[in-house]
Amino acid sequence: MKKLLYIFLLVIIGTSFEACKPEFESPIGEGTYTSGDADFSKFVAVGNSLTAGYTNGTLYKSGQANSFPSILAKQMSLVGGGEFTQPYLDDDTNDVGGMNFSSNMILPQKLIINASAGGPERINKAIGMEVTNIHPGPYNNMGVPGAKIFHLVAPGYGNISNLALGAANPYFIRMASAPNNTVIQDAAGQSPTFFTLWIGNNDVLAYATSGGVGVDNNATGNLFPSTYGFNDITNINVFASVYSQILDELTANGAKGVVATLPDVASVPFFTTIPYNPIPMTDQATVDAINNAYLTYNGGLQSALSAGLITAAELAKRTINFSLGANALVIKDEYLTDLSILGLPSIRQATDEDLVPLTAKSIIGHPVSGNPNLVYGITSPLDDQWVLTADEIAEVRNATAGFNQAIKDAAAAKDIPVADMADVMEQMKNGIKIDDGSTYTADYFNGTNLDNLTFGLDGVHPNPRGYAIIANEFIDVINMKYKSNLPKVVPANYPTITILPTN
């Protein structure tokens, strides 16, 4: 009996040791992930706010922690990626971003949703970041919020003495390794083995978000960026030439990398959240009163037609008519025939070809100087800055297409793969179905899907979940081109927008 008992116990103990823990046929471990033909030991990310991790209207500490290059670097660290540094933000003690210059706010805090008020607003906490708090780089993350392409090669862009002139950038001032170094000097100077380059958004975005108040330098043919205004569109030839120059410098030491295309501005919720016809009318008396107010203007248009000043098509386009139901905004449009000799303003109702920026939300439907008979968008036409008209959109799209062609040409010449972020961000607006089967959208004012949002509250920049989706796209392109195997990330594990009970 004893013998049998010993044998029995031996079987138990033997099996228990042998099978202490179950094991996979191919467990995740050494060799699961590979770098392929790429060398991730020195990864440098070059770009603008999208590279910096800017979201919810500013750059703040926890946003930067989830920048797409930071997400990428963590994955690369599995296969030989080295340390990844990001610009100093330790003075952002409240995690609210913004920026002070000599204790005066020059950039505001992050946007949050105040549940007691309903809408997005700037968080009511003190800014800690200060332009003069300079911590010279270079850093692996060379994303500079606000930078246009030519800024990357502009000496003095990080020199604080240029700030008042508008020729320096508060973020780059803080991170430049020397005041007169260019962004690209600081990036290429690190001899990256791998890079991402995503630049050019601001070369068209400022024009668009300002409602097209700047100048389209593709129309003017102006090739001198130093003369450009802040809201101007960069000339495509200038863009192409600077882009090639940047790519030359980044690949000078044989670095591999990936570049990204620029989204169409119509792909960001900043322009797609407010419809062209956001004015509901439920009362015939109000409709009549409004139409009455435009009798003189509509009549004047008839005279202009009779005088041959405008075509019948323009007459139809300009005639203002309100009715019960949803009504289009009344807007100023500088592209209409100038009828000031007849005393007629250049106004019309918006169509679905016009885009209304998110910022117009604060004035549409509000009375002008408290006058109830003069209401923005209805009886008081919206200024140019509140509408991106069809003609302005055409300028923006023309430039974007030109920039993207330049990006693809330059990349092809260097055998660098292109991540099509234009396409990805279009999907991020319309609904992007990600690997785990869930769909993310930019529909962020319906209030029920905070978990599946791609964009932050500024309507232009992704939120950290959106940046995770972008990181996954970069990973796909890198794995495909360089035969590497980097794991992807789960967007839902990253923060969405912030909701506070009060502000």
């Binding site: 008992l5 079987v11 899907n449 599946n452 794991p487």
Partner: protein
């Protein structure tokens, strides 16, 4: 009675390792031979396996008690995202207590108290936390039976089943929601003690001294939990008025099971047994939790399918005192593709059993050992509860369990 009830609750701690949340550890003697006891009418354990067999027992009175220790492990990985996790399950200790009594030549009475279902998974801060952090289900059955012998070849029995149990379940609200300090928001669901009732019917057939056959049907029991309590932890301030402690109701089914078995003695000292169990798991369609404080119902699609278990066991009597036993069984997972959830990560498994029995004059001691080798499976489940769209949570799972057991039996005439 209440005291006994409490002791039972404390003891009955099953750990998930078999098909669904079935815990098939209802007798150390039979477990030694693959738990194939439907046609083995030689000991008290038949009060569970096939109460009709009680009339064929040698002794007039017999009682047995046994307990097992379940040490189970489940591992998860998903190479696409470089995520991996494993359970740190507590040791489960399911038990049984059987008594049989021959009131006359033709009638026997039996009482079986056992833990047929149970589950315990503890996942620590892992990628599937919105599905489960911790779950523990404790179920025990009290089953009185009466058996009648029609002839020396045939008997039948009928049993009542009174079932009691409870479920404790903790999961995160979703994958990211956290309080202001970053602690994930989670829900703790406590069913309290819930119960249900059912029945069992069985037939025992002994055409010759060397061949036995048995059939047993145990009905389903639906636990109707009306008075569950949900509490929410780490709730962010902006949701504190919504995620409040409240009541919930939920139903949890224990499936019906049909078994047929046959045993054969090719020689006097050797017993071979084969059982086939068919479990009606398709009753588990969904887990629906209805909150009574205005929160939307939580519904997870289970879509279990009926499953089969094939058992082959052997016992060899070395002498009048000593028996050695061994067995193998294949246990099929009832989880269907696309509904593989880590709260009950049930894999199909190959199972190996060993047993050793020592019979004294009135007392017998039995040791058993079961090794469960879960078959690796890559699958996913669809998780709702994150806004308008659902997401899939998938990966590869592998599991095993090591289960030693000890039983004692006391019999006399």
């Amino acid at each position: 009675m209440k005291k006994i009830f409490m002791i039972l609750v404390l003891l009955s701690f099953g750990s998930m390792y078999a098909g669904g949340y079935r815990v098939a550890l209802q007798g150390q003697r039979m477990l030694g031979m693959a738990h194939a006891g439907l046609s083995v009418f030689e000991n008290t354990e038949t009060a569970f396996f096939n109460p009709a067999g009680m009339v064929f027992l040698d002794k007039n009175f017999s009682v047995s008690f046994g307990v097992s220790g379940i040490m189970s492990n489940v591992k998860y990985q998903n190479a696409m995202y470089n995520i991996a996790a494993e359970t740190s399950n507590p040791v489960g200790t399911p038990f049984y207590l059987y008594a049989t009594y021959k009131t006359s030549e033709n009638v026997s009475l039996g009482l079986a108290v056992y833990t047929p279902y149970g589950s315990s998974s503890v996942w620590n801060d892992w990628a599937g936390s919105d599905i489960v952090n911790e779950i523990s289900m404790k179920v025990f059955y009290i089953q009185p039976s009466i058996a009648y012998k029609f002839s020396n070849m045939l008997s039948a029995s009928a049993s009542l089943i009174m079932a009691y149990g409870g479920v404790s379940y903790n999961k995160n609200i979703n994958r990211y929601l956290a309080d202001e300090e970053g602690n994930k928001t989670n829900a703790q669901l406590e069913s309290g003690t819930i119960g249900g009732a059912g029945y069992a019917l069985s037939l025992a057939f002994r055409p010759t001294d060397d061949i036995s056959m048995g059939l047993n049907y145990r009905s389903s029991v639906v636990f109707d939990g009306k008075y569950g309590k949900a509490t929410f932890n780490n709730v962010p301030t902006f949701l504190s008025s919504r995620l409040k402690t409240g009541a919930f109701s939920a139903e949890l089914p224990m499936p019906a099971e049909l078994g047929v078995g046959m045993s054969y003695k090719p020689m006097k000292k050797l017993l071979l047994a084969f059982d086939y169990n068919y479990t009606y798991w398709s009753i588990y369609k969904e887990l629906r939790i209805d909150f009574k404080n205005g929160l939307p119902s939580s519904v997870s699609d289970k879509s279990y399918k009926n499953s089969s278990t094939f058992r082959f066991g052997a016992a060899y009597s070395v002498n009048d005192q000593i028996s050695v036993r061994a067995g193998y069984y294949y246990d099929q997972s009832p989880l269907t593709k696309g509904h593989f959830s880590p709260e009950t990560p049930s894999l199909s498994s190959n199972n190996y059993t060993f047993g050793l029995g020592y019979q004294m004059k009135k007392l017998a001691v039995d040791l058993s050992f079961l090794y469960v080798d879960g078959i690796e499976r890559t699958d996913y489940t669809t998780v709702r509860g994150e806004g308008p769209t659902a997401h899939r949570f998938g990966g590869t799972y592998v599991s095993n369990a090591i289960i030693p057991g000890l039983g004692i039996t006391y019999s006399f005439n």
